[in-house]
Structures are given as structure tokens and as C-alpha cells.
Symmetry: C2
Subunit: 210 residues, 2 copies
Amino acid sequence: MKTDFEILNFFKELNSNCSTVIKRTFSKGETITTYIEKRAQLCILMSGTANLIRYDFNGNKTIIGQFTKDEIFGEILYPTNTNNELFVEAKESCDVLFFNYNNIITGCTKKCKIHQELKNNIFTLIMKNTIKLNTRIELLTKKTIRDKLLTYFNISSYKNFDRTFVLPFSLTDLADYLSVDRSAMMRELARLKNEGFIKKQGNKITLLIK
Amino acid sequence: MKTDFEILNFFKELNSNCSTVIKRTFSKGETITTYIEKRAQLCILMSGTANLIRYDFNGNKTIIGQFTKDEIFGEILYPTNTNNELFVEAKESCDVLFFNYNNIITGCTKKCKIHQELKNNIFTLIMKNTIKLNTRIELLTKKTIRDKLLTYFNISSYKNFDRTFVLPFSLTDLADYLSVDRSAMMRELARLKNEGFIKKQGNKITLLIK
DNA sequence: AAAAATCTGTTGCAAAAGCAACAAAAACAT
DNA sequence: ATGTTTTTGTTGCTTTTGCAACAGATTTTT
């Protein structure tokens, strides 16, 4: 499978006379897209970070997903069966590519040479996204906050080849990601620290157990 | 996007002299595949149902995913960062197609005509799988069992075009799917019934509220 | 440099969920 | 048809979690 680096480079150099792509830049707080209309949209985040946000009928805002560089998202990957309104909001300045799924499958009208590669790369990004979703499900299915945290820390240390790692986002974001109450999570973190499972200085965590 | 029916027919007729596919049948209880070795495997379930099962270090068995007809699975879609042993086990008799991801991306050596269509169909199945995973995440991120159940019921009734629907699996399986304690879920179901939110006769549920 | 907004950390209390154990019903197998 | 296994349904008790509220630290904005 291609590396993120190779794929990102492909998209950077993607010639815009290939009819299937639009490039846009968004500044912090702007809405990149919504999942309301159904137009088979696929988006690739070239730089920056963005949140997938749900406003429920009470107007409560919930962060239900986070996207970073190289990641793919868009309403075509999302179920239509909820009546919630979903928005993707730039958390910081973002460069985004927009595609249409049908154009990708059928091939663009100009039959540009790179179209085949485009398809393969999007394929690969969607597979990576699947792995990301399965990882999150693995965490969400753990029954206790402690288990969620320890599993998350294990995965992080595995990825980082080091028992010590820095969280890629704030503790508030981590609570959203694990779908637990932030204060309850902080309490559990304090316990893990007291009981000698972890060391913690700000967002830098060290796992002290296997 | 193609319908499940069209895709299933394509795979049924997939000529086996296309080098990329192997077909096998499994009877109830047999292990279809494991996610231990890394050989870029992708599997399509042609008939039957199967469970994705984890045995943790204590030997506890947990059902972490369920697959039915037309669905795609396989270790290539799953993160490598956990040291758990994962198995896909036939819950009933199953017909399964096995592919290799790299063969699909690069094209088979015989350059058979249907290879392009094969790729598109697998692409589509993976997208459907993404939607399925996002649906489950939506449920798992709900904070209470009541919220999980009501959201699940809403989605089911939406899909079924009817406030009344039959669960596609047992209540025990539903508890696994929502990752909650079965007895706690039963308690909550009883409350929802008493409070007039639902009607329930065995696995047949009717939503009585919006 | 000051003001505003966000994030971190802590705690008491109430609500929710997990666990364990058991009996009855239903499904499956011999 | 009979015995076995799985599923459903219920309940008491304990643990975990969410909620609310607050203070201090840090970051961002003006």
C-alpha cells in the first residue's frame, strides 16, 4: 500500500484540468461542507485539521469526528438515516480538495492519464479511513473509561515506537474522541497516575505498564 | 452507486479463471479467517452470517463485529496495532470469496475484462462498509443505553420504512453490537416499554414516539 | 499589555451501568 | 420425544459515570 507521503504528493500535483477536482482554502471556524445535501461528495484534507460536528435538536454541539492532513471525508461515506445536521468545520486553516464519487468511478470526460491513479489513491485513502474507524470502534466498545484510556495509550505507544508520546490533541478532544465525560476522564487519569500506570506531564504521557 | 443486488450478481458470476479470487464454503462454527498474518486479504461474504471475535489475554470471547451477505471484511481493513487475536467465525453456513488487495489494485496478470468492474465493485463495498462503521460509531458515542437503543430503533424504522420492524439478530447480539451489558439493556428495554416509548413482542419492535 | 476564551484539574452528588445469579422460555440437537 | 444449549427476562448490590460547579493555568485575540 502506498505511504501517506506518496499519496499526498500525488494530490498536490494533481492537474486541475482533470475535470473532477476543485481546490479551496478555508480559515479557522469556516464550514468546509455539510452532510445535508446528497451530491456524492468526497473531500480530501491537504493541510490543517477539521471537526465533524453534530447539532442535535436542542442545539447542543457535539464533535463526532476529527480529520487531519491526508484524510478523506464527505457525505458519501456517511449514513443518510439520521436527521441530524452534520457540518465539517475548519479547526485551523485548511486546504481541501473536492471530488464527486461518480466521476471517480466512471472516469473523467477528458480521460486524463492520471485518472486511474487518482482512483487507486482514493481507494487507498478510504481503506485507511476504514482502519481509523475500526480503531475508534475498538476503543468505544471498551466498557470502562480506564480501559478506553489504556487501550488508547497502548495504540499510541505502539504507533510511536515509544512508551512516551504526546497526545495529538487536547484532553478535551480526547474525551470527545472516546465519548466520555471530560471530568470523569480527568478523574480516571488522576487515578491511573496515582496507581502508577502512567506518568503524565500535560499532554505528554508515559505508559509504565506492559 | 450500484445496488447490493447488482454487486452480488457480479460476484456470483465472477469467472474463476480471473486469477485473483478463491471461493470457499464454511459450516457453522468454522473459522473463516484470522487477522493475525498480514497478507492483504479481503473477503466477501456471499451468503450466511459471521462474527468477528476477539479473545483477550484472559481468554474472554467478545463479538466485536458482525457480517452478513454482501459484506466485505478482512485483515487489510483492520488496524495492526492491537495484540489481540481476531477471528472471523461462521455463525451459520457461509460462502466466502477471498481476494488479495494488491492484485485488485494492480490488475490481474490475465488482464481479464471484468477486472475493472471488479475493482469498482470492491470499491463500492468498502464504501458501504464505511457507512456501516460510521453508523455504529454514531450509536456507540451515545452516552446512555436508552439513547443507544432509541437511536438504533430510529435507524431501523427509517431503513424499514415502517415504525415496526424485526431485529435482524438476537437481543444478546444487539447488546454486543451496542457494547452494553445485556441485562442492563433488558432493564432499559423494559423501562422503554413501561413508559410507552416502544411496543415489543419478542424481536418485533414498534416505535411509538417521533 | 490587557481582556477574553479555552483548557486543565478537582470534587460532591445523583443517575446509570455493570456484574452476578437465577428461572423460565425457546431453539437446537440427538 | 427428550435432553441440551442458547436466549430472554428479572432483580439486588456495587461500581462507574455523568453532571454541575468552580478555580487556576494557558492560549488566543484585540
